[in-house]
Amino acid sequence: MYIKTMLINVLQGFVSLCFSRYIEVYLRCFNMSIKTLDLSMVTLKISEMLHPADRELMANVRLDKLIRTVKVDSGLLISEDLNLKNCITVLASGLIAVQHKFESKICVSHFYHHGDIIYDTEIRKDLNKMQTQWYFYEPSILYVLQLTGITEAIGDKTLFSKLKVQSALHSSYQYQKYINDFALNRKSFCVNWIRRYGKALSLVSRNDLALFFGISISSLKSYIKIATKHA
């Protein structure tokens, strides 16, 4: 009798564990329809990403039917939870840190902010050589455009091909911009960043921020002072 009760308890525990995992995944990534106000922002972002000669291809495409809204809870993203392959994703709200292991430290190379286009190339298992992870500092909303859906919707592969090419080129170009911004004048980069993304100060620890800027905590404190003084 005792063994039977114990077995039932173990089974119940197992079922509840599986169920809670299912609920967690479900809560971390559930779909909603895109807010009308945000549709123009996303359309503009995607259109701006295209080469000017190809932008007219977007004229007859209704993106609201093709974009899925994904809500992601705060915490570390498990890449398998969110399949963004062949997608263009816009961060509608939230703050994401792009973390890597470098010389046995976890370092943030950059952050994604509201309105940024993000690509899963850096976290996709088959391409992720630097153990890159996305850390969501707060519950976030992503607008995801599935490129294969476009072909089905408009019955033409041209826009799909152009977006796929452009997004691949854009993903690496974005990094060059992070490098240029950072390299030229570290102090001014730090001060401007803090001014522009002041909200991040309440979400990211001072230690992580100092690591992100590649400066000491005391330099960070003085840059924060400068940035907030004229805010």
Binding site: E103, L127, Q166, I179, F182, A183
Partner: protein
């Protein structure tokens, strides 16, 4: 043939090679392309070394990278969004290169599914390299980083100014001067 560890078909390689014309030869100090050029190309460097620099929005010119045998180089901004080139590329040693105009290259990309698939992989590699550079700039010991750079770009101090190298490193000119001594 393999591209970044991935096998690609001979048909694909042949059609890609067919799109390029040349050879074009350059002597040390000559530009492969200059800032403000309207007709831009993707270049394949067969032999020779050189450096390319980006003109930033604030008017600064910044060292971007090195051209070396076996790589493709171009003005990325112009490839992405058209307009005149915002960078230049100057060779440091006798160089031979082949080229394809942007418009033809983009057309080739759009029409060739195999290339599109490979492009994601190629750009993931670039992202990886740039990420690594960003992290090295921030976290690597500067003296070690200078040794690392000298190994990768032999003779960099002969072809680039100290200010350019300091910007590439994201350190002040005085720190760079100390490191180079």
């Amino acid at each position: 043939m393999t591209m970044l560890g991935k096998t690609v078909s001979t048909e694909f390689t042949c059609s890609l090679a067919h799109a390029f014309d040349g050879p074009y030869h350059y002597l040390p100090g000559e530009n492969i392309w200059e800032v403000g050029e309207k007709d831009c190309f993707v270049w394949f460097i067969q032999s020779g070394f050189g450096f390319d620099r980006i003109l930033l929005e604030d008017g600064h010119k910044m060292l971007n990278g090195m051209s070396e045998p076996g790589i493709f180089i171009c003005d990325e901004k112009s490839l992405l969004w058209g307009g005149p080139s915002a960078s230049d590329s100057i060779v440091s040693t006798p160089t031979t290169a082949y080229r394809v105009p942007f418009r033809e290259f983009r057309e080739f990309l759009s029409q060739n599914e195999e290339f599109r698939e490979n492009l994601a992989q190629i750009n993931a590699y670039f992202v990886h390299m740039r990420k690594l550079r960003l992290l090295k700039m921030k976290h690597m010991n500067k003296a070690d980083y200078w040794v690392d750079i000298k190994e990768r770009f032999p003779g960099i101090e002969l072809y680039c100014t100290q200010t350019e190298i300091a910007n590439y490193f994201a350190v002040s000119k005085s720190t760079m001067h100390r490191l180079m001594r």
